[in-house]
Amino acid sequence: MQQEVYSICFMCSIRCPIRCIVENDDVKWIEGNPHVPGIEGSLCPRGSAGIALLKDHERVQSPMIRTGPRGSGKWKKATWDEALDYVADKLKEIIKKHGGPSVVLGERTQISTHVSKTFLRAIGSPNHFTHDAICKGSVNTACRSLFGYTDAQMSTDLGNARHIVMYGHNLLESIEVKPVNNMMSALEKGAKLTYIDPRVTVTATKAHRYWMIRPNTDLALNYALMHVIIKERLYDKPYVDRWIVGFQELRSFVQPYTPEWAEEETGIPAEEIVAFAREVSKDKPRVIFHFGYRGSNQVEEVYVRRSIMILNSLMGSVEAKGGFFFKKGPGEVGGKAARKLTEQEFPKIDVPRFDKVGTPDFPLPDPNHGVGQMLPMAILNEDPYPLKALIAYRFEPLMSIPDTTQTRKALDKLDLIVSIEINYSDIAWYSDVILPESIYLERTDCPRQVNGLKPQIFLRKQAVTPRYDTRPGPIILKQIGERIGIGQYFPYNTVEDLVRWQLEGTGFYLEDFEKKGFVAYTNKQIFWDRNDGIKFKTPSGKIEFVSSLLENAGFESFPPYEHIQSPPEDQFRLVVGRCALHTHISTQNNPYLNELMPENRLWINARRAAALGIPDGSLVEIASKQGSGTIKAFVTDLIHPEAVFMLHGFGHQAEMATRSFNRGVSDALLQENVTDMVGGSPAFHHTFVTVKPV
């Protein structure tokens, strides 16, 4: 007997809505939710590999307790009681001796993040952090500095855009299904795509204009664009007059940054910069200079992202059809959002966070996410205080935080490492205990509040019983909590109970999700009135080119541009990115995805490769001050001579994940752990490397 189950994918962090066909407790078919516009059945390749994940016998099949040294691969299969008792006993001891703040929990932001935040607050630790800052901390800060909202509170109306500009935002390979389809439909309707990247990507192959920019010089390009747009009065004057604070300051600031100056810095011809500024502004406000998804390339990152959003502001495209919009919550139509466990009363915490976010040392990153790449330094230097335990909840410090050698050294100082994981990731492999989580097809999850032009709630609903001895994350945390005396903060026995508790007061019920997988608060798109109704959350209520957030923290709104040094003659700048077939570090061992893309290769410019004696497909050694590895070269004209490129997420070291073990090289092994201390992102494109034939 076949049954349809509406749910939410979790092969990547986008969480597209899906429809599953289930028969005899087995998932027979997964497709994108046909009721959701822009999805209509579509599923990306990672999503299509969901059943392969469900069946994969190389997942973590039961709780595991380490019996040999960390990373040795010596494990004892444990019952849940054994594993949970082990973790709870250790945690109690650590908390008693060193206090709650000595416990850190890192995770990739997910639907149940409020549960892990609750866990940490209940034990009196401020040290919950998400992966977010590592991906886009500076994008978040840049958006708050201009609009008072985070990047996550904004989105793009790609489908109605007339000109889309992307700075290395490789949408067609990172693939968010809905935005991809919206962009493809805009292109079909005649929209233009300008793509700027030191490397040719799939997205570049659909562009009308492609600039192979010198790596890390996007800011110079943008200052020159502003120069032209202001000088030639190409901006949206009524919008600028109404909504912008600091336009005159910007005008004088960009005065010296001419297109000719930018040509020197970026390699993009001055006349092309001028022509582009004129062309793009004809389509204002239906213009999107996309601020990207990941924004973590360089130490000036927050200013790069600000410059992108300043261009949008000059086009009047912030809160515009075919531009950016602010996501509307249920409050806009008198509705109520699902409540969260974090709304409970907790003991007061009066120590700073491990990453010092919110202190004068690191004032601006978003404390809701923290800054994860600070973890190794905080542990090693015991600054601001000693950390003793790490719970890694679908978070991978060894492959996501730059400088794996340093990170491993830091982990070695900890008394306890626990992973809540589905796969033998490198951190699971290096943990003391692995608590295996049921995958998305095997568990119900908390309600997913989706704000946007139409606020909605989606639900991940269990499709089949777990294949192995695994549990949902909110249950695992509750069961540890009960053992360490904080059980009262988890008022549920099943995730379904928790969903019901969260939905109380919204007017929606668990059963409402059965028909289509989601509920909507309204049928109409909500745009604010562009003349009077845009609710910027800055102190001025306007877009702050001169930013009170930055200036009050002692940072300049417009620091002078600093020349980006080229790498020394024998070196390259390492740049990294994504492909359609893999999600970050998490899918390389999936049988089907691994078959199509088993390892990464090093893109190297043909001229430079010839000079170094590197033929296409040959093995090369890539090395930085942090580490080195051996990888196959992909020799091509399609990358800037100053850069080499590799996909993120390969070079796994967990032997139990046999398909991905030791395939390719991990970028984190090579990267220096350097941070934009204003915005909070790491600078993944900061590191210089040497490449030589093996």
């Binding site: 570049a204 359609a580 399609l638």
Partner: protein, 167 residues
């Protein structure tokens, strides 16, 4: 020729391989066979912009299929009611003659069962009134499936729009 037409609107294809992955998943195939495949040609710089072609290669379900003619056991067949070319695993002996015969390499080897597998337009799905797996989940909906008269004249429309001047 089968009465169906599977049309790839190449302009909207992003070469993501989701069609390949879902095809394998739907047919529960082991590593090795690729019943459909996206082949990337390029990118190459043409008039200052990079261009690439992402070419979708399933089985063409020929009118007079080389594979059916070559098959010595009658395993490779053309379905009478709609012309879908498929292989009956009860009759396939794994001789691979069809693989040699097909000019486009459509029949694939399944090492797990020692027999040939090939695209059958997901005839079980079609019989239920559904579309083939690849078409259903295609990320950008660039794959279209139907009888020949059902396929939208996308390329003509696009060309007409590009040519038309309403001024």
């Amino acid at each position: 020729m089968s009465k169906y037409y599977l049309f790839q609107d190449a302009k909207n294809c992003i070469g993501c391989h989701s069609c390949e992955v879902v095809c394998k998943s739907n047919k529960d195939l082991p590593l090795g066979p690729r019943i459909c495949q996206i082949l990337t040609i390029g990118p190459r710089i043409v008039d200052n912009v990079p261009k690439a072609a992402y070419v979708f290669m399933p089985c063409f379900h020929c009118e007079d299929p080389w594979c059916v003619a070559a098959c010595p056991t009658g395993a490779m067949q053309k379905r009478a009611k709609d012309g879908i070319v498929f292989v009956d695993h009860d009759l396939c002996v794994g001789c691979k003659t069809c693989m040699s015969a097909c000019p486009w390499g459509a029949p694939q080897w399944n090492p797990e069962i020692g027999k040939v597998v090939k695209c059958d337009y997901c005839k079980d799905r079609i019989d239920e009134g559904l579309k083939p797996a690849c078409v259903t989940i295609c990320t950008t909906h660039c794959l279209h499936f139907g009888t020949t008269d059902e396929i939208p004249p996308l390329r003509r429309e696009r060309y007409a729009k590009a040519m038309a001047s309403l001024e």
